[in-house]
Symmetry: C2
Subunit: 358 residues, 2 copies
């Protein structure tokens, strides 16, 4: 556990992210105050042990703004005005427009160090806060030319003390990256799902795991995502534009125009290369896992028996995928392991009577 490098922090916004930062900093001996537009949110966060209720009794060394993106700029500017020596950072998921707004209206904007933790959000609110929410997660810091480098180092130290991995980039590169890795995929998932509306109940059954993967994001909250997408409108619309162009090449290829099937093949081949760049479960380097497919009965206990058997082999499972058939009470479980371990796992499972496919 490295030292946070600051003695006192005010967290404005006591939701999942803010309260989790509070819990982590408290565990590291930092004095933490919590504020929120919603007093109940502060109450729950304080009860969880994430800090003391604000306002701070003395000026904090650092202010972490963890409010919804739509109010982030005004809260950041207000904090720069309230605390004339403090470093101010934030956690908003898009950075360019926010930076522009802070630089337009804020005093002494060199003290503002913009940040974006890429942490899980399957739940929300301070009740779900966890001190280890950021452990080994990527946390982007996006200083602009106006940002004081010493302040950036200070925030980087604090972020690393939470266990996160700092990735430094510019606001513009950050926003272009999340447009490609997160925002455009969200739009595409929604539109692929929306395209199913013309299918009858029988025809939509002509689908499999691929469609489930591709449409999972489409279940997300439209309010939240409209806010996120409009906050990153320029990079996302540019990314969509580029996607439209590449889709048009494939469409024309299928119609025998442009390069014909060769341009379809080229697009798919570029996809294979791109897919290899996607970070694996363990982050920085995509790891090509070996897949051990096992057929099991879909009934209580079978998965337990399978994983107990896998545990006896001592092989670490990197991922698990369960491919139930449509309406079918049996299933295929794909165990992903490091390639060197796959033979040992397969042999061990077979010894325990499992059907491992070749």
């Amino acid at each position: 556990m490295t030292a946070p490098g600051v003695g006192s922090v005010l967290i404005v916004g006591s939701g999942l992210i803010g309260a989790s930062i509070g819990l982590a900093l408290r565990a590291r001996g930092v004095t933490v105050w919590l504020e929120d537009a919603d007093p109940e949110s502060v109450r729950v966060a304080v009860e969880r042990g994430a800090g003391l209720p604000g306002p701070p009794s003395t000026d904090p060394e650092l202010v972490m703004v963890a409010v919804p993106p739509v109010v982030a700029a005004s809260v950041i500017v207000e904090c720069l005005r309230r605390y004339l020596d403090a470093t101010v950072s934030d956690v908003a998921s898009t950075k360019t427009r926010l930076q522009r707004e802070v630089e337009s209206y804020g005093p002494d904007v060199g003290r503002f160090v913009p940040g974006h933790p890429l942490a899980g959000r399957e739940v929300s609110g301070p009740a779900a806060a966890r001190a280890d929410l950021f452990a080994d997660r990527v946390w982007a810091l996006t200083p602009s030319t106006a940002t004081d480098p010493d302040r950036t180092d200070q925030v980087a130290g604090l972020v690393e003390s939470l266990g996160a991995v700092v990735v430094r980039t510019t606001p513009e590169e950050h926003d272009r990256a999340v447009a490609l890795t997160s925002h455009t995929p969200q739009v595409v998932s929604s539109l692929v799902a929306a395209g199913l509306d013309s299918l009858g109940a029988a025809e939509v059954r002509l689908s499999g795991q691929g469609l489930r993967d591709m449409t999972r994001l489409a279940g997300s909250d439209p309010d939240l995502w409209t806010e996120i997408l409009t906050s990153n409108a320029e990079p996302v619309s540019a990314a969509i534009d580029s996607l439209i162009e590449r889709l048009a090449v494939v469409r024309d290829g299928l119609r025998g125009e442009r390069g014909g099937p060769a341009s379809v093949h080229a697009a798919l081949s570029a996809g294979v290369l791109g897919q290899a760049k996607v970070p694996g479960k363990h982050g920085t380097e995509p790891v090509p896992y070996a897949v051990v497919p096992v057929v099991i009965e879909d009934r209580p206990g079978e998965l337990g028996r399978l994983f107990a058997s896998a545990a006896r082999t001592g092989v670490n499972l990197e991922d698990v995928r369960i491919d139930h058939a449509q309406g079918r009470p049996t299933g295929l479980v794909e165990l992903e392991v490091r390639p060197a371990s796959s033979a040992a796992l397969a042999a061990g499972l077979r010894e325990d009577g499992f059907e491992v496919r070749d």
Copy 2:
């Protein structure tokens, strides 16, 4: 086990699908002959018990053509010519062009009943064949106006005897459906992945589970998929065209044109509705599972301990997702269960010392 309704079947093409049909029919007492352009493929399939090596000693009642799509039409036509009383069916994944070709060149095309089993293909070849490959899988039958309805019923009976669920539709509706549920998602996944090529190594790390889901299909074989996409060129290019139009609406909305943010919100909302139509793991009806999130250490044995604990609760797990953090030796496991079972599972896991998130 229902009766197949035929006494003898010739299977042309002894790969995964053909050999699996053979195994299933043999188990049901049907006389099966196997042919393949590759004698080794026949040898392995025969050795597996999928049937006798062809040619048949007497005319088969039914011929199942399970060859690669690019040669399907000529093999079907040849079989209609060779066996003048037999019903001929096939398993090609696109139907309209094939139907047109068979009707152009084949004699007595009323005997041809086109089909398409939606069965797993993570492995291939006769060595991977399984008698239960089609159990509770959807198997589309796409008779045209030329098809003899009695022959369609005969093939439906055979398909149902393999445990599959018959979905009857037209060749055109089938191809439009798979264009939307499978072929366009494949193209989109490839292009989203290809779009990452402009990102640096640091920026591509600004991604999460969503990107992994959206780009998984992009790892597929470009040769195979070029063949599939070109065999369904018209419906796929139409579906891409429609997707381009909807992407343009979102792009323009983000630029403040057309409906502005309202049209972005409308597109995302349509995606939520579309996603709800996607068949769940168990097929016909999407089942809204409850998610029980559990935090575990990522080391050998932990998953085994978790699943053994889950098994003791008697609750059946419908799905498992493991969300490792980037570079992080701990992980979040999401157990999906029927909603009525989630409280019992969470309580049981907590008793065994697991950290279950709220």
